[in-house]
Symmetry: C2
Subunit: 150 residues, 2 copies
DNA sequence: AGAGTATTGTGTATTATTCTCAATAAGTGA
DNA sequence: TCACTTATTGAGAATAATACACAATACTCT
């Protein structure tokens, strides 16, 4: 069940917030993003720029944060010093990430048992689940061979 | 199997690196850290300061990064804008985190099935596993009640 | 349409983390 | 034990991601 402009508006208004063209366009970018892709704030800024919908960096930071807290986007912290975002999709699109801490190569994989564990755990503690992600930090085959320090 | 000064030295030297008093002291702080505690770089800086082993912030940042890449420490990114570190312990101490994205309340929980999945996945891709952590972003009971924006 | 207020864009501030570089000291082998 | 090589440290400056302040704008509701 993908978001439409209307369902997004409904969810925003319910909390006393507003639907703006910026928010709608930003959500669209994520909905059209190919599988396995993740955007940083700056990526998103450039993408919007080049598709002719320029939006200020401030608004971008505010919006992705807002949408992550609504559970619309998931916030991913790989090993690069800045956050990445992607659509927070339910089963069967929900997935996890295996990351090389040296070169940032990322592999996605699925697991519904983790998703179940995430729901069960947050429910048990009375938390409202937003996102559950297994993050595997590792070193890829190529970087294992390289003798470079660090 | 906790690290001793000697085993740490062996692992460092094996890679052409050196054991320094700073590295030894930093590892000790983490080994003496109570369960459920996590230190930011600044926390660690202050802790060392007050225990009479002052170490520069530069060295602290370099050391925790080094130890994370060696698999000695695990790097945790909660929702506060800076990293936290804790000892990377194997089963049965290995655990995961449920975090409130609004107030940062953190609850730890264990799961050996995730640990297995992490090993299996990285092995399958030929990666050398460093750490595997399930991160559950959620909103705690108290913050659900609060009507504050954000 | 108008009131009330959430949101935007611009510019600036903050702050975690990295970088630079000269001084120091760990490892190694004679 | 003593040099020799070079990894490491500490101090400070630099960087870069993100947050903030505020006046102008534009949603939403009546
Ligand atoms: Mn992904
Ligand atoms: Mn922990
Ligand atoms: Zn790699
Ligand atoms: Zn909370």
């Amino acid at each position: 069940m993908a978001y439409t402009a209307n369902s997004l508006k409904a969810e925003l208004n319910e909390r006393g917030w507003r639907l703006t063209p910026q928010r709608e366009v930003i959500l669209n970018v994520f909905q059209n993003l190919a599988e396995g892709h993740h955007l940083s704030a700056e990526d998103l800024y450039n993408e919007l720029q080049s598709q002719g919908d320029p939006i200020s960096l401030s608004t971008i930071y505010r919006t992705v944060k807002l949408m992550a807290r609504m559970g619309i986007l998931r916030e991913l912290e790989f090993a690069e010093g800045h956050k990445h975002y992607e659509l927070n999709q339910p089963y069967p699109h929900h997935h996890h990430h295996l990351i090389c801490v040296k070169c940032n190569k990322t592999i996605e994989f699925k697991s519904d048992s983790i998703l179940k564990l995430g729901s069960k755990t947050s429910e048990k503690e009375g938390f409202h689940l937003l996102d559950c992600q297994l993050l595997i930090h590792a070193i890829c085959p190529q970087c294992q061979r390289s003798l470079l320090p660090g």
